[in-house]
């Protein structure tokens, strides 16, 4: 042997081999595989270890396994049969407890299964792309003058070109535009469809299945268009397969494209959605602005061979925009960074240019909730099993007398617990299958419990064993410690520690329930805050209508027509939905502007905008009909603040090459959701090229009637297009759908947690009432009233719930404050939240206990005392 470190084969497999291998063969076999191991470990130690383990597993076969004592098998089998029989007898003898036990477990397992299905679905989003591990995405950080950084996915195309030409690490590079809606016409058949512009590499990189046509050339031609199977069926009927390739589609009445391929519609597991893909070449040639370093255009995705390469690319690309826009004074301070594409769905929030979570927060919350519910359900089982252990004490004593070891008895209780949990899992599966359609409706997903997947079976088995072992652990540890003589006498007194532990478990359960209810109350409070927040404009009775085609250019006539409807009291046209707005520029300059960069939103609207929207002017005046206001601007308070004017009215301001003056300051209104601060804004009535895309009508009176009339006029003036509208208040509410869903889920699952806890409490209080039945009898004989006895029985548990409440408060405060911090505009956490949660839990708990106690307190004392 040399002085070098000798590595020995992994111990566990070797131990296993020695255990199962026929003793006649064990020596030379062990020698053989050790020899193999030492040969292999010269090349690769890890591999050698893996192969060694594999060898051992392959040796585990009939010819090699030693004979195990058959007599042992017989006894084990007989004992297991006996355990099962006793379990069944006990279950049937105390039906009430069995039902409580099973119910708790079933409800717990079923709800955590639902949650885990949801979590699984979220985590799987965008994970189906074969190259997924190597696909990365570029993000652009725009540094604002006020020190804030806003992050977006639109990258200047020259940066992408640079990567293709000069970065050897980058293999494929896909360009993908934002979703745009175009009008698709085939003959008289016209439909508006959302889709994206993409280059050929997009198809190579992502695993969207191409059903018809050539995947490798579908987007190489200037006039090719890829459509989804859904769209193909819509445009060409059910037999689209025969005729679709090579068909001509007219896009927006301007471009004629030929269907080059049909692609499977992106499913619910893809965050990239589209109905069609247009060729990037065509778009680039028609839009010269994309070739400017200052303009973000496409989303950029690229593949590399390894994570290191991605890091290298990230370092090299970081400052290219700065480097290439040095000479341009107008250019903003912008940097690029790289993130794995598959992570974007879950980690999609950026706080000052740094990833700050995203949906992963909800995934984590729900995961924790699922685990907590499982634990609460298991705790129930533990509590009930140990509380009732007195009933089993004689059985345990007899078993011990007959020679059972501690391990055998704890094995029995583990087996019992696992059996219960298996049965519960079985019922839970049935419940999940029944509830799943409704749950899907609630969360807006298409979750299924797929039994053809091995994963599902592993999961079910895993849950059964985990819950079984968890809930069986305490009884299995506690029960075998009973003293034989005492237990045969039936006089086992529960030790102080076990009572204490059980009380601890109750505190734990109710603590968790209180925590969940605090969470629910806070989510609810924040949601109602968001819904009732003064947005700075009146969103009620406001209808937004999309002006398609050339209607936008005729908006004045259109508005006047609509204003003839008696119910419509105001009308205006604008460049977008004012409460969900994102058009911005960094090119604005004003009197006394310093070096700092500012990204400022630009809203184009006609003269009636401010009044029609019900916005409030802080200073100056709104645009007015009759004034020549096209080069006059209104800014919001944030913009006024950023520009640093004490007296903004009359100051010079210019952007997009338009020079004008500020005539008014409008009160801040919310252009984005409540997660974001209010951004600086300039409102201009400068005429928009191609006309305004949306019109907004304020209605007073019969909304239905008004809508019918608006539709009639719109159709009359614009017969080709569908009439598309939304109610602003409804659209606003819908934009918080995600939060609403979480809120409903939180409601349901915290309800379930408290339900399970109460089931446990019900069992425990039943037990206590039984134990103390004679005491109650004696007290009643001595003149105690029902109320006094009720208080006596309820007092203990009430104290536990109070402790649970106190323990839950700091946790609840911490977690809910964390969640609220995501919102720029948030409600405050006041004591009422905790008080509501506390009282709710307490009331439910006390009611449960006293229901049982009342029964015990009203029993005629002769019944409980006559045995003596």
């Amino acid at each position: 042997m040399t002085g070098s470190v000798k590595i020995s084969p992994p111990k566990l497999p070797l131990k296993f081999l020695k255990w199962f291998c026929n003793p006649d063969m064990v020596e030379d076999v062990e020698g053989d595989i050790s020899e193999l191991f030492s040969k292999r470990s010269k090349q690769n130690k890890l591999k050698a270890k893996l192969f060694f383990t594999l060898d051992v597993l392959l040796l585990f076969r009939p010819g090699m396994i030693r004979e195990f004592e058959p007599i042992n098998k017989l006894i084990n089998f007989a004992m297991i049969k006996n355990y099962l029989k006793i379990t069944l007898r006990n279950a049937l003898r105390y039906k009430g407890f069995t039902v409580l036990n099973l119910l708790g477990l079933i409800v717990g397992i079923a709800s955590s299964m639902l949650i885990l299905l949801w979590v699984n679905d979220e985590v799987k989003m965008d994970k189906f792309h074969e190259q997924g591990d190597n696909i990365y995405q570029l993000f652009r950080n725009v540094h604002q003058g006020n020190g804030m950084i806003s992050t977006n996915r639109a990258i200047p195309k020259p940066a992408a070109d640079l990567m293709v030409e000069e970065y050897p690490e980058v293999n494929d590079l896909a360009l993908l535009s934002w979703e745009m809606e175009v009008l698709m016409e085939i003959g008289d058949n016209a439909t508006k469809e959302e889709g994206r512009i993409a280059n050929q590499d997009f198809l190579n990189m992502f695993s969207f299945e191409v059903l018809l046509g050539d995947k490798n050339t579908a987007l190489t031609e200037m006039n090719g268009v890829v459509i989804t199977n859904t769209l193909a069926e819509k445009l060409f009927g059910t037999d689209w397969r025969d005729s679709v390739i090579g068909q001509n589609i007219r896009i927006d009445g301007e471009y004629d494209l030929i269907v080059s391929a049909v692609i499977e519609e992106p499913g619910s597991n893809s965050s990239l959605k589209f109905q069609w893909l247009g060729p990037a070449e065509l778009f680039i040639s028609a839009n010269d602005w994309v070739n400017n370093w200052g303009n973000g255009s496409f989303g950029v995705y690229f593949t590399v061979d390894s994570e290191e390469d991605a890091k290298t690319v990230g370092e090299r690309i970081k400052n290219v925009i700065l480097d290439n826009t040095k000479d341009n004074d107008m250019a903003g301070h912008e940097t690029l960074f790289v993130q794995k594409f598959a992570d974007y769905y879950l980690y999609g929030n950026f706080d000052n240019g740094v990833i700050s979570g995203g949906r992963i927060d909800y995934v984590r919350i729900m995961l924790v909730v699922a685990i907590l519910i499982l634990v609460v359900a298991s705790v129930n089982f533990m509590n009930l099993a140990t509380a009732r252990s007195g009933r089993r004490s004689k059985e345990i004593g007899i078993r011990k007398v007959m020679g059972a070891q501690r391990s055998a008895i704890s094995g029995q209780f583990f087996l019992e617990a696992i059996l219960y949990s298996f049965i519960s899992v079985l019922f839970s599966v049935i419940i999940v299958l029944l509830v799943l359609p409704y749950f899907n409706m609630l969360v807006g997903k298409t979750l299924i419990l797929d039994f053809s997947l091995l994963q599902t079976w592993y999961f079910l088995l895993g849950v059964s064993l985990t819950v079984g072992l968890l809930s069986g652990s305490y009884p299995a540890l506690l029960l075998p410690t009973f003293n034989i003589i005492l237990s045969l006498k039936g006089a086992v007194k529960q030790s102080r520690t076990s009572t204490f532990f059980r009380k601890g478990l109750v505190v734990f359960q109710f603590g968790i329930s209180t925590l969940l209810i605090i969470g629910t109350v806070v989510i609810h409070k924040q949601l109602s805050y968001v819904m009732n927040k003064d947005l700075g404009l009146e969103k009620d009775n406001l209808v937004l209508v999309r002006m398609d085609g050339d209607l936008g250019a005729r908006s004045e006539t259109y508005k006047n027509e609509v204003l003839n409807i008696p119910e419509v009291i105001a009308a205006t046209a604008a460049s977008g939905n004012p409460i969900s707005y994102g058009r911005s520029t960094s090119s604005a300059t004003w009197e006394g502007k310093g070096e700092a960069e500012h990204e400022i939103n630009i809203l184009l609207a006609d003269n009636d905008f401010i009044t029609a929207m019900g916005m409030e002017m802080v200073q100056g005046r709104a645009f007015q009909q009759g004034f020549a206001d096209s080069t006059n601007f209104i800014i919001n308070e944030v913009a006024a603040d950023i520009m640093g004017f004490d007296e903004p009215i009359g100051k010079d301001l210019s952007f997009w090459g338009i020079d004008g003056k500020i005539v008014g300051v409008v009160k801040n209104f919310h252009m984005r959701d409540m997660y974001e601060p209010i951004a600086p804004l300039i409102i201009t009535s400068f005429p928009i090229r191609g006309g305004y895309p949306v019109a907004l009508f304020r209605v007073k009176g019969d909304m239905n009637n008004a809508l019918v009339e608006i539709e009639r006029i719109t159709k009359e003036m614009n017969p080709v297009f569908d009439f598309e509208y939304e109610f602003m208040d409804q659209a606003y509410a819908e934009s918080y759908q995600n939060e609403k869903t979480v809120s409903i889920q939180a409601n349901i699952f915290s309800g379930i947690a408290i339900l399970i806890s109460c089931l446990g409490l019900l069992g425990l209080s039943t037990y206590t009432a039984e134990q103390r039945s004679r005491e109650i009898g004696v007290r009643k004989v001595h003149g105690a009233s029902v109320n006094q006895i009720l208080v006596l029985l309820t007092k203990d548990y009430s104290i536990l719930m109070l402790i649970a409440f106190v323990v839950a408060i700091p946790f609840g405060y911490y977690f809910t404050q964390q969640w609220l911090n995501d919102f720029e505009f948030r409600t405050t956490l006041d004591p009422s939240v905790f008080i509501i949660a506390g009282i709710l839990t307490f009331l439910v708990g006390v009611l449960t206990v006293s229901a049982k106690s009342y029964h015990a307190a009203t029993v005629n004392p002769t019944d409980s005392l006559k045995d003596e």
Binding site: M1, S8, P9, M25, E27, D28, V29, E30, G31, D32, I33, S34, E35, L36, S38, K39, D55, L58, L59, F60, R61, P62, G63, M64
Partner: protein
Amino acid sequence: MGKYSIGEFEEVVLLTVAILYENAYGISIKEEIENRLKRKVSVGAMRTALNRLEKKGFLNSEFGEATAVRGGKRKRFFKVTPLGKDALDKVMETRKQLWDAIPSIAFDFKFA
């Protein structure tokens, strides 16, 4: 085949033991088969085959020296028994009989 019943893999193992003569133990047999026949052999499959052959009486075995690479475990060397030799002869003979019985035209695929 009666007492000479032998499977394909067993036949390969038995022949390899004969080839290796004095040096036929687990790893050498495994490597010999892997080198000659280009097929992967797991220790488990090979050891059970050896075991069966020994039970049938075609092989016998004895322990050799212990070495450090083997973790101080001895090698078990295998040897073909006369019965094993008979079995191999028998296999070859039956194969030959079958070959001889094939009419010459059966493998004439020209007009098939």
